[in-house]
C-alpha cells in the first residue's frame, strides 16, 4: 500500500466516522425533544393541579383571598413515583393590578392577586414550565 492509498483509506475512515456521528447526534437530539415533550405534559399537569387547588380552597373558604400571598409562596421538591421523577415546584404569589402587573408597593388589600407556578427539575425538562393565574376579589 503506497502513501496515496493509505491517505485515501484514512479519508474514508474519517468520512464514515463523521457520518455515523451525525446520525447518532440526530437520533439523540430527537430523543431529547421527545423526553422534553413528555416532561412538559407532566409539568403542565402539576401547574394545573396547584392552581386548581388554590381555586378549590378559595371556593370553599378554606383560605381567604387575602391569604393567597402567604399561602402560595413556596419552593418544594415533589416526587412523582408513577413516572418516576422528582420536580422542583416553585410558587410565587403577589399583589398585582388588573393586568397582572406587580404593584409598586405590595398592598394586602389589593383586589387582584397573581399566582405563578414554575416547575423544573429533571434534565429531560429543558426549560422550567410556568403557568400563572390572576385572581380577582368578588363580593358574591
Amino acid at each position: 500500500m503506497n502513501m496515496m492509498e493509505m491517505f485515501l483509506a484514512l479519508m474514508a475512515i474519517m468520512l464514515f466516522t463523521t457520518l455515523s456521528l451525525t446520525y447518532n447526534q440526530a437520533i439523540w437530539r430527537q430523543t431529547d425533544y421527545i423526553n422534553n415533550a413528555t416532561m412538559v405534559v407532566q409539568a403542565s399537569q402539576i401547574c394545573h393541579s396547584i392552581l386548581d387547588e388554590a381555586d378549590a380552597k378559595l371556593f370553599s373558604n378554606q383560605i381567604e383571598f387575602t391569604d393567597i400571598v402567604d399561602t402560595y409562596n413556596f419552593t418544594d421538591t415533589q416526587s412523582y413515583p408513577h413516572l418516576p421523577v422528582t420536580f422542583t415546584v416553585s410558587c410565587v404569589a403577589t399583589d398585582c393590578d388588573s393586568l397582572g402587573q406587580d404593584l409598586e408597593t405590595p398592598n394586602p388589600n389589593s383586589l387582584f392577586k397573581r399566582i405563578e407556578v414554575s416547575v423544573s427539575g429533571p434534565t429531560a425538562l429543558r426549560y422550567p414550565y410556568k403557568m400563572k393565574r390572576l385572581y380577582t376579589k368578588t363580593f358574591m
Binding site: Y23, A26, D52, E53, D55, A56, F59, H82
Partner: protein
C-alpha cells in the same frame, strides 16, 4: 496475486461499509417511527388529561357534598351530578357517571366513561391505556377511601402502544394528575 489481494480487500471493506450504511438507515427509520408514535402518544396524553380534568370538575353539581362520590375504588370512580356528560350540558336529571378501565385487548384498553349504565363515546376517547389507579383525598388533602369524604382524586395513568418495529418493546408513557371536585368545593366542602 498482489492485485487480487488488493481487490479482495477493497471488496470486503466496501461490503462492510455498505452494511454499516444499511444498518444506519434501518436504525434511523425505526427511530423516526418510534419518535412519531411517541409524539402522537404525548399529544394523546395531554388530551386525555384535559378530558379527565373536565369530567371530574363537573362532579357533584347540585348534589350534597357527602353524596357526590358513590364508589371510590383503586381502579373505578363513580359519582353523581346534575350534568350530562354525553352532551356536556347541565341537566335537570341526576346522572351517575362511572369511570373505569375497560376490558384489556392486545392494543391496551379504554378508560370507559359510563353514564347511568350506558357507555358513552363507545369508540373510546381515552384509549391506549394499560393501567389506571386512583388515589382519593379529602378536603384537607389527607388520603381517604371513604366515598363521602372524597374531594379530589389523583389519577395515575399508564399508556401503552405497540412499537412500530419491535412488538416485544412497546412504548410506555406515564402521567400523574390530580383533579378536584370543584362543585363540592363551591358548596363549601
Amino acid at each position: 496475486m498482489g492485485v487480487l489481494l488488493d481487490v479482495l480487500g477493497s471488496v470486503i471493506i466496501a461490503a462492510t461499509l455498505f452494511l454499516m450504511m444499511m444498518t444506519f438507515q434501518l436504525q434511523m427509520q425505526e427511530t423516526a417511527a418510534r419518535i412519531h408514535y411517541t409524539g402522537s402518544m404525548i399529544d394523546h396524553m395531554d388530551t386525555a388529561a384535559s378530558k379527565l380534568n373536565h369530567i371530574m370538575a363537573m362532579a357533584g353539581i347540585g348534589v350534597p357534598v357527602d353524596s357526590v362520590c358513590v364508589i371510590a375504588d383503586e381502579s373505578r370512580l363513580v359519582f353523581r351530578t346534575f350534568w350530562n356528560c354525553e352532551s356536556d350540558t347541565l341537566s335537570e336529571d341526576r346522572h351517575l357517571i362511572d369511570i373505569k378501565l375497560g376490558d384489556s385487548t392486545q392494543h391496551g384498553s379504554i378508560l370507559e366513561i359510563n353514564q347511568d349504565g350506558t357507555l358513552i363515546e363507545p369508540l373510546g376517547y381515552i384509549l391506549y391505556i394499560e393501567d389506571v389507579a386512583f388515589n382519593y383525598y379529602d378536603k384537607n388533602d389527607n388520603q381517604t377511601t371513604t366515598p363521602a369524604n372524597v374531594m379530589s382524586a389523583e389519577i395515575l395513568l399508564t399508556f401503552r402502544r405497540d412499537s412500530p418495529w419491535r412488538q416485544d418493546q412497546p412504548l410506555r408513557t406515564n402521567i400523574q394528575l390530580k383533579c378536584f371536585f370543584m362543585n363540592s368545593y363551591l358548596q363549601g366542602a
